[in-house]
């Protein structure tokens, strides 16, 4: 990567790390929330649903600002976390948190749609064979929604790779810590003549995201083909 400076390679690595962890860590929660929204009726369900969608509705800057208000070291939540040894403010973990939150609605929606498409009669069949609800979930529902999970994860990863507004607002744009690829692009776009450097980074994002996309298509198709037979 001779045409990438060390700072840019750093930004790329950071972006990958942030997006990867944002996706991986939020996936179990996303599956759980999607399942709850799809299959359970409980008070506050619509509130949860609204909360999940919030990052989509809010301008990213606002989300970032709210995160900053919540998780800065002076705020109660931030202080509790800091006492537990988890500092997210101005760390790459914070960037991952922001990216994960921004991507969460996309992930949940995709997974939820898949869950709603699973015939509850199959889950019932699992129950009659002795599998408890969590077991049915793991052995029946989960494999059947795999295409949806992959779709959700890849949407989330792509979104995380492109996320910028909330991230820069929350954890700033510190090279090596919180300067992701999009933040670097932003910085380049703020100065005269930065366009070509910005485009270089954009192309890298595209290549990576497309690679992830192709991979997910392949895995998703295989998962779907398994269900469709042969």
């Amino acid at each position: 990567m001779g045409w990438l400076g060390p700072a840019e390679i750093e930004a790329l690595r950071l972006s990958l790390r942030v997006s990867f962890w944002a996706t991986i860590v939020s996936l179990p929660l996303g599956i759980f929330v999607a399942y709850a929204l799809a299959r359970w009726r409980f008070p506050g369900r619509q509130v949860l649903n609204g909360l999940v969608h919030l990052p989509l509705i809010l301008p990213p800057v606002v989300t970032g600002y709210l995160l900053l208000l919540t998780f800065n070291v002076q705020a109660p939540v931030g202080r509790v976390l800091a006492d537990l040894g988890v500092v997210v403010a101005f760390r790459w973990t914070g960037a991952a948190l922001a990216a994960g939150i921004m991507a969460f609605p996309l992930m949940v929606r995709a997974i939820r749609l898949s869950i709603e498409a699973v015939d509850p009669k199959l889950e019932q069949a699992g129950a009659t064979l002795g599998a408890s609800q969590p077991f049915v979930f793991v052995t029946v529902t989960l494999p059947m929604i795999l295409p949806g999970i992959i779709a959700g994860a890849i949407l989330a990863f792509a979104k995380a790779m492109g996320e910028f507004g909330a991230t820069i607002t929350f954890v700033s744009n510190i090279p090596g810590q919180t300067q992701t690829l999009p933040s670097a692009v932003y910085a380049f776009l703020q100065v005269p003549g930065g366009e070509s450097a910005a485009m270089r980074l954009v192309i890298i994002s595209i290549v990576i995201a497309m690679g992830a996309l192709l991979l997910s298509e392949y895995v998703g198709r295989r998962a779907a083909a398994r269900v469709a037979g042969t």
């Binding site: 009669k121 019932q124 129950a127 077991f135 494999p143 469709a228």
Partner: protein, 365 residues
């Protein structure tokens, strides 16, 4: 083990009000399409929560709405063969078959998978997924999946409907064995009189969500007014024991000392069996018939003549072997002057006692 079922449930399509006690063995739910059979089975399985009711196997209560007791389906240890298969599409046939085994308690009776697979003829399908199986193949895998779950209660909703006669004949003995040897209570839905006669310990005839009649198979089937699948299902059930196997392929049975012949059956000499003699397979004669190809002729006296609707009548004939039923025309009733007390001969074609109508060993109840 006796199964007691009481269910009250209102649905837009049907008002269910069910109460029956079934002795150990196979309880067949019998009734026309839409009469509520699957709904009852679902309630027993716990897939439907009835508005009121109680289901218990002996004193193991599956649910009791009055006491607020509710065992979730996965705690009921079921082998439910669904009317529509419900195979797991993402698992291979092999994985489908072994699904229930993960959850069976250690001590549970285990079926031999190889044996079940062979009986069902699905050995060549083990590595395929269900999507492209034929209708009958799916159904067979579904049967296998339920049987291999080491169930304490088997629910079979028209398990053999999609199968050809030959395959049915291979699978039926297996259910008999479950009934007789393992004494798993079985709730069995079918439209086939042959299956009823062969398997049923007790028959529950349903109509529009209500129990029309309930009782031992032999009684319900002998009553032309309820036989839910039409007059062809009427017949007598005799208890017999295997006397000998003859070289020409016939098996000789004795029923209270009376000899009966039928094509070779796989049971051993000395075994006690139930056989069903459909009423329409019996011809009555006012004298001893001679020169007939039918090998089984039983002497007896007419006990009663019940004229049904239409041109037929059911004549019951007390013979030393037991009471037989014969379905004859009213014209014949007149011609032979059949009336209670009249001596007559009942002619039963040997081959009419086909293997399908031979029950397994009689359970010691």
């Amino acid at each position: 083990m006796s199964l007691s079922v009481q269910i009250s449930h209102r649905l837009p399509g049907i008002d269910l009000d069910i109460l029956f006690q079934a002795p150990r063995g196979v309880t067949v739910l019998f009734g026309r399409s839409g009469s509520g059979k699957t709904t009852i089975v679902d309630a027993v399985a716990g897939l439907l929560r009835p508005q009121a009711g109680r289901v218990a196997v002996d004193d193991w209560v599956l649910f009791d709405t009055e006491q607020g007791h509710w065992l979730p389906p996965h705690r009921r240890r079921l082998g439910y063969i669904f009317q529509e298969g419900r195979l797991f599409p993402h698992l291979t046939v092999r994985q489908n078959l072994s699904y229930g085994r993960w959850f069976a308690p250690r001590g549970a009776r285990r079926e031999n998978p190889d044996h079940v697979i062979e009986m069902l003829g699905i050995g060549h399908l083990l590595d395929r997924r269900p999507a492209h199986l034929s209708g009958g193949e799916k159904q067979r895998v579904a049967i296998g999946r339920a049987l291999l779950a080491s169930p304490r209660l088997i629910l079979a909703d028209e398990p053999l409907a999609a199968l050809d006669e030959a395959r049915k004949a291979e699978i039926l003995p297996y259910f008999e064995r479950l009934r007789d040897e393992v004494s798993v209570p079985i709730l069995y839905v079918t439209h086939s009189a042959a299956e009823v006669a062969r398997l049923a310990t007790s028959v529950v005839a349903l109509q529009d969500g209500k129990v029309l009649r309930q009782g031992p198979a032999s009684e319900v089937l002998a009553d032309p007014s309820v036989a839910p699948t039409g007059v062809r299902a009427v017949g007598a059930v005799l208890e017999v024991s295997v006397a000998a196997h003859h070289e020409d392929g016939l098996t000789e049975l004795t029923a209270n000392g009376v000899r009966l012949f039928l094509p070779r059956i796989p049971h051993s000499v000395g075994d006690t069996l139930r056989i069903r003699i459909p009423a329409q397979e019996v011809i009555l004669s006012d004298r001893k018939p001679e020169g007939l190809s039918a090998l089984n002729v039983l002497q007896g006296t007419v006990e009663s003549v019940r004229a049904g609707e239409g041109p037929g009548a059911i004549v019951s004939v007390r013979t030393p072997a037991g009471t037989l039923l014969a379905r004859v025309t009213r014209r014949s009733v007149d011609a032979l002057a059949l009336q209670p007390g009249k001596p007559c001969h009942a002619v039963v074609k040997t081959v009419a006692l086909a293997p399908q109508d031979v029950g397994g060993r009689v359970a010691k109840s």
